[in-house]
Symmetry: C2
Subunit: 255 residues, 2 copies
């Protein structure tokens, strides 16, 4: 079975950027980079010695890797030839929701990519699925060239991991955003919180989040909770109240 | 001006444990450890070669440091002699809310302590306040023996930092708890999310949380948001919806 030695990438966002860089560094040939806006494709293509295109019919590689928003994936896949293997990088779309008779797989990185922040892909979990064992094996081996955390995960489980990732990354990040925007509004120094933020994450390497919880909501300290609610307004206040209630409920129902 | 070379500690929780350890290691004498439940005081006192007591009248040091829950602080302070300096470790209680004529200060560590997790106190911000310049200087110098992040912060500002710390630590931790309890319920492996969690915190060392945000709510991907809402129930579902709305509003109001 011939493995995947060349790919074409559809999309020019953070996932395309980081996965493409990782493949390029490991010597995987990137034939084409596609974007509807060709100027966007040109920059990435020049990094990877590949060809930029705005024509899907140009794409011709062992694999076409789709790194675009979920809502645009079905329309793009419908335009690709059936004889080329295709994989998409979405956590939330089930493989059977894709209207394609064959050669379809999933290559889902369980990570949050930002363009201005390097990521050690070697430690990023890559969740693989395909409509055939042959393609699944090829995608696994391709993933193994850039990561040592590769596993087969079906669509139902992948959706659950994706949901958990939203809590762990998107929502934690928004909590920090709430803290920072509040302190900036009050002309105070956000940087004083960086050691606490680092310790919060560090703790969770060894402690369960249930055991690591501290603070007024855990203690059900209603005086402090009301004080804080009075210091906030709008949706920030709603968030504070609901999250505090959830924490208080968590510890009251366990005790 | 004679500095503080000996302290007595009221309380036996996480703050007492970690601050006491740090002082003991730096050669500050810990004369007494007080708890209403003397058996609790005995264990900490034996670590620090100090005396356990359940009588507040025993306490006699350069400083009495109060490391107990907010709601118990006023009652304890009312029982202490006025001629000994007293400091408490709470973020949420203003110094003028304490009914004490003199010798009162604040020694607030901006950190989340858990007993089973060592903390590098040297990097923990210690926020100092006192009712006199003399006590403020003494508390600052005492703090400096265990940390290099010491600053004078008044009660109004300290309350704001405390509120921000709730977002950065307590609420982020609860987001991770939500992810873990969901995956455990679904018989899936939480550990696969640890690289994402580490990267989430690592990103925020160099990126602003506004710039670091990714995910369906930022993209206003209502299809994925509804999918996730359907996978959750109870207060977890309420949290998911409200936090997603807050993120979506954040990016729509800026764009």
């Amino acid at each position: 079975m011939k493995g995947i030695t060349s790919i074409s990438i559809i999309g020019t966002g953070n996932v395309a950027f980081h996965l493409g860089n990782a493949f390029f560094e490991k010597g995987i040939q990137i034939d084409f980079v596609y974007s509807r806006t060709k100027s966007k494709a040109i920059e990435l293509a020049s990094n990877w010695k590949s060809t930029a295109t705005d024509a899907l019919t140009d794409l011709n590689s062992d694999l076409i890797l789709i790194c675009i928003s979920d809502d645009a994936i079905p329309e793009i896949i419908a335009q690709l030839p059936n004889n080329i293997s295709v994989a998409y990088t979405s956590g939330a779309i089930g493989i059977h929701e894709i209207n394609r008779p064959t050669n379809i797989g999933v290559f889902y990185p369980l990570q949050s990519f930002s363009k201005n922040k390097a990521v050690e892909i070697f430690e990023v979990p890559l969740l693989i699925e395909a409509d055939s064992i042959e393609l699944a094996q090829k995608l696994f081996d391709l993933a193994w060239t850039i990561s040592r955390k590769v596993s087969f995960v079906n669509s139902a489980e992948r959706k659950k991991y994706h949901l958990a990732a939203v809590w762990v990354n998107n929502f934690t990040n928004h909590m920090v955003y709430q803290a920072k925007s509040y302190l900036v509004k009050e002309n105070l120094d956000f940087n004083i919180l960086l050691p606490l933020l680092a310790e919060t994450a560090d703790k969770l390497k060894t402690l369960d989040p249930y055991a690591a919880q501290t603070g007024p909501a855990k203690r059900n300290d209603q005086h402090t909770i009301h004080l804080h609610e009075d210091m906030l307004n709008g949706i920030s206040k709603e968030l504070y109240s609901l999250i505090s209630k959830s924490i208080t409920d968590t510890y009251n129902s366990h005790d």
